[in-house]
Symmetry: C2
């Protein structure tokens, strides 16, 4: 909104951001290795050599996409974690925030690239991403601890957290925006699944 750094106006579109968005969509769709620089250039109406004016290598594009993905998820879930309700309400808000990023149109390509293409990152960048992911997952470990303390779950071990991450992240494989299930519904059903309460209807 305000002008920090050098803000992009309507007449001065941010071509770098365009490239990151297009790369995210293509990486999510076809995979990093199967996506060519020419695919990305065409998607943003450039010639095949031009993306290299904005990024030094294809790996740097992957890095930008993956870091944007993890930052978006992290920010959204931090906000939910600090929303200050009961442990159960906090947990549900976190599930919703994570799923919004994974499945919503704003972030799903970044998230899918993060989940499926991270193995193509350079080792140093992978270490960077792993560190961010560890911090992120510690947030979930904490809410599990609170849920156990409140008597809502039986086990708050690391394995429980990993099962939960699996149920969450696997939604990318089956969720369809046009389907019967909304994102909020899925979050509620997952909360019920983990907390072992019956739902109505």
């Amino acid at each position: 909104m305000s002008t920090r750094k050098r803000s992009a106006t309507a007449d001065e579109p941010n071509r770098r951001a365009d490239i990151v968005r297009a790369a995210g969509r293509l990486f999510a769709e076809k995979g990093y290795a199967a996506t060519t620089i020419r695919d990305i250039a065409k998607a943003v109406d450039m010639q095949s050599g031009s993306p290299f004016y904005h990024f030094k290598t294809k790996h740097d594009m992957l890095r930008a996409v993956v870091l944007e993905g993890i930052a978006a998820i992290n920010d959204a879930v931090i906000k939910a974690a600090n929303s200050g309700g009961t442990p159960r309400a906090t947990f549900e808000a976190m599930l919703r925030a994570h799923l919004d990023q994974l499945l919503g149109s704003a972030g799903r390509d970044f998230a899918a690239t993060l989940l499926h293409e991270s193995r193509h990152l350079d080792p140093e960048v992978l270490a960077e991403v792993t560190a961010l992911k560890d911090r992120y997952e510690a947030m979930w470990q904490k809410v599990l601890k609170d849920l156990k303390r409140a008597g809502l779950i039986a086990d708050d071990s690391a394995v429980t957290r990993l099962f939960l991450m699996g149920a969450l992240n696997w939604t990318v494989q089956w969720y369809r925006p046009e389907g019967a299930q909304g994102i909020g519904q899925i979050a509620q059903q997952l909360a019920a699944f983990v907390l072992g309460k019956k739902r109505r209807g």
Copy 2:
């Protein structure tokens, strides 16, 4: 064991099977698109053109790997599903069988390729795989129904099945053979997670 078809003897090694195994390992490790025919040929000590004596295209190699993966998982879990104990015992046996295929040395490369590289299949083969997967998942839907009827879970909907598949299949992302958790332990913990019972220790 017996000689159906034309069995491979020690003097007549099955080079086709060697290629499928090597391709599975490389596809699991680097991804389908990033694996070259030359990688596969080198892994089985052939020249770069020779794999095409056994397979018409690289896609056919992917097909062989993926179908071997799904067949192995399907066979193992069918056996567990028919082991004839209580619903809980059957469920635990199925979890164990699925995880053995995903994480054990015999099948993990095929399974990882199935889980992560299926998008590179030709449309017809993808449809074939999807049909097999639907049949496979129906088996899980059935045991969930039995568990609900026995009062062990609250919800046996399709979404519950998908959460369970997520927890199961995500183990590929974090399980390490040399780690503290054994496969059998993980199966037990997942059963406890889903059935909501406390474990000892």
